[in-house]
């Protein structure tokens, strides 16, 4: 804040108009935010590969630098100096624009995240809608990549990805609507301020639906149908090489972290924590710690669960998540109206109770309809472990 004030003063001393200096300040702010996020991605790529390696009982990157920490820097250098192959028959406009649009759609989300009490890009009054809208831009980028590559696997993968993203936007939007009802505002800052009790406690079911939907929205395992190697070679970015492939790669890893940031802003109270109001810098630390926890959960799921089939993916959304989200919305609305006059403690307990009851009912229905698949065990379940001291794979039966 002081930096922006100082810069504003500097600009007005140079005789720059007031509205122009605001414009320039926003430009500088977004450039700084984008660069920092992209640099952080290098670290996330390394950490994710390391964690996944340990989950799968491998070492992960361990050659470049201590614990292989500079592996992604080496990869980046490799990608920079690689030959940039443009296949013949591509549609040049969409082909070259697609990676830029995909990265931009990921970075644009950062503009609305409140990083601390005073530090936020833009206190947009329709931030929640903006969040969903930016997802739509990403879809356009993926379709452009799939079409522009002039490759049938890329096109199929783009179809899958966009169908998945459009479908999973619906339960996400409905859960966001529930949050808007509880906080009474569409601005991210107001949503954070409304969380005296974090919404994950008030809406455990909503948080669960949102988390699953955001994994699917990011196209990560177990929902990584768009890049199912065994079916589609490598997804919509087959024909890309060099720096352009690097942009898709960065977008993929960055999106995982940014959706964790969004989750912790919406459900875990964002920058709030003891002492965060008085020391704004502490808010950023809290936000990053919370996001890292959520992000680790996502990586854990990615490392453990096998991929769904495409019909299963559609069924999960349309027959389970969407009806459940609509039911949750209706229940929260009615219950909120019924106990409106009661104290805040009673309200909170009503919400938690209703959420848990809904969750129990849906689990019961799932359990009732499940069909058991007979699994014939071959050999022993015990297996040798490469690193017996690894806490993640200590159990000889894995996990």
């Amino acid at each position: 804040m002081t930096i922006s004030k100082w810069l504003g003063g500097l600009l007005s001393n140079w005789g720059v108009n007031d509205s122009w200096s605001t414009f320039i300040l926003y430009l500088i702010g977004s450039a700084v935010l984008g660069t920092v996020a992209l640099l952080f991605t290098l670290l996330f790529i390394w950490a994710e590969r390391k964690i996944i390696g340990r989950l799968q009982d491998r070492y992960g990157p361990n050659r470049v630098g201590p614990w292989g920490i500079f592996q992604s820097v080496a990869d980046m250098v490799k990608i920079f100096i690689k030959e940039h192959i443009i296949p013949s028959g591509v549609d040049p406009g969409p082909y070259h624009l697609a990676p830029i649009i995909v990265v931009a759609s990921v970075l644009m989300v950062l503009a609305i995240v409140p990083l601390s009490t005073t530090l936020l890009g833009s206190d947009l009054n329709v931030a929640v809608l903006f969040l969903l809208a930016v997802g739509g831009l990403g879809e356009v980028g993926i379709i452009m990549a799939g079409w522009g590559s002039n490759n049938k696997y890329a096109l199929l993968s783009a179809f899958r990805a966009s169908a998945q993203m459009i479908s999973y936007e619906i339960p996400m939007a409905i859960v966001l609507l529930t949050i808007v009802i509880l906080s009474g505002s569409m601005s991210m800052n107001d949503i954070v301020l409304a969380q005296d009790i974090p919404f994950i406690i008030l809406l455990p079911l909503g948080a669960l639906i949102f988390f699953i939907a955001s994994i699917a929205e990011n196209g990560r395992a177990p929902f990584d149908l768009a890049e199912a190697e065994s079916e589609l070679v490598a997804g919509f970015n087959i024909e890309y090489s060099g720096l352009k492939f690097g942009m898709f790669y960065v977008a993929d890893f960055l999106r995982a972290f940014i959706s964790a940031v969004i989750f912790s802003t919406l459900f875990l109270g964002g920058w709030r924590g003891p002492g965060a109001e008085s020391i704004p810098a502490l808010g950023i630390v809290y936000l990053i710690i919370k996001s890292l926890l959520v992000w680790f959960l996502g990586v854990w799921i990615r490392g453990s669960l096998p991929r769904y089939r495409i019909d299963q993916m559609m069924k999960i959304n349309w027959k389970f998540l969407t009806p459940l989200a609509i039911l949750l919305l209706v229940v929260v609305m009615l219950a909120g109206k019924l106990v409106e006059s009661a104290g805040s403690t009673i309200q909170a307990f009503t919400l938690i109770g209703l959420n848990l009851i809904l969750l129990a009912i849906s689990m019961w229905i799932l359990r009732k309809n499940e069909t058991r698949v007979e699994i014939i065990e071959v050999g022993s379940r015990d297996r040798p472990v490469a690193r017996p001291d690894n806490i993640l794979t200590k159990n000889p039966r894995g996990g």
């Binding site: 509205s19 329709v126 809608l129 356009v140 569409m186």
Partner: protein, 172 residues
């Protein structure tokens, strides 16, 4: 020139250029992508007007849903009209004439109105007021509750109708 004017002019030029591309390109897929750009330009004009709700809804509904639907439809029906065949009918000269005549009539008519060159001031409501007003207007019986309900019935009918019409009955 102020920032608003520069932003307005650049986005207006972008929008008009992409709109012209939409109606003139032979490759329909490119036309659909230019349509996305035109819609994005219009969304930023909405934001400039202070209607941030509609800017977000514009991106969400038009780009996230309608444009993607159009792109899918283009892909599903593409091989029939190849890009080499001319995409316009013979009436284009007549159409240009007609359109420009209508343009001058419209501008001539509205420029005589007193509020035509009224400068628009900066929008003062930047919080939740506009959205709350819209929401209350939509659900209050003295406001627009009936149009709102009718619109929801229209959307449901469109959903069912779309599924029914596009369903492949021959292969059942």
């Amino acid at each position: 020139m102020s920032v608003q004017q520069v932003i307005f002019i650049s986005f207006a030029l972008l929008t008009v250029f992409s709109a012209i591309m939409v109606v003139s390109l032979r490759n329909l897929f490119h036309a659909a992508l230019w349509l996305v750009l035109a819609l994005l330009g219009i969304a930023s004009l909405f934001a400039l007007l202070g209607a941030s709700f509609f800017a977000a809804v514009q991106i969400l509904v038009y780009i996230g849903a309608i444009a993607i639907l159009l792109i899918f439809a283009v892909m599903l029906t593409r091989n029939i009209m190849s890009d080499e065949v001319t995409q316009t009918n013979r009436a284009w000269g007549l159409a240009v004439l007609l359109v420009s005549v209508i343009f001058f009539i419209i501008i001539g008519q509205i420029s005589s109105w007193s509020g035509f060159s009224q400068p628009l001031s900066e929008f003062t409501y930047t919080g939740q007021e506009t959205i709350l007003a819209l929401g209350k207007g939509f659900v209050s019986p003295s406001g627009f509750a009936l149009p709102f309900e009718t619109a929801s019935v229209l959307l449901l009918a469109a959903l069912l109708g779309g599924v029914y019409i596009a369903m492949d009955k021959g292969k059942e």
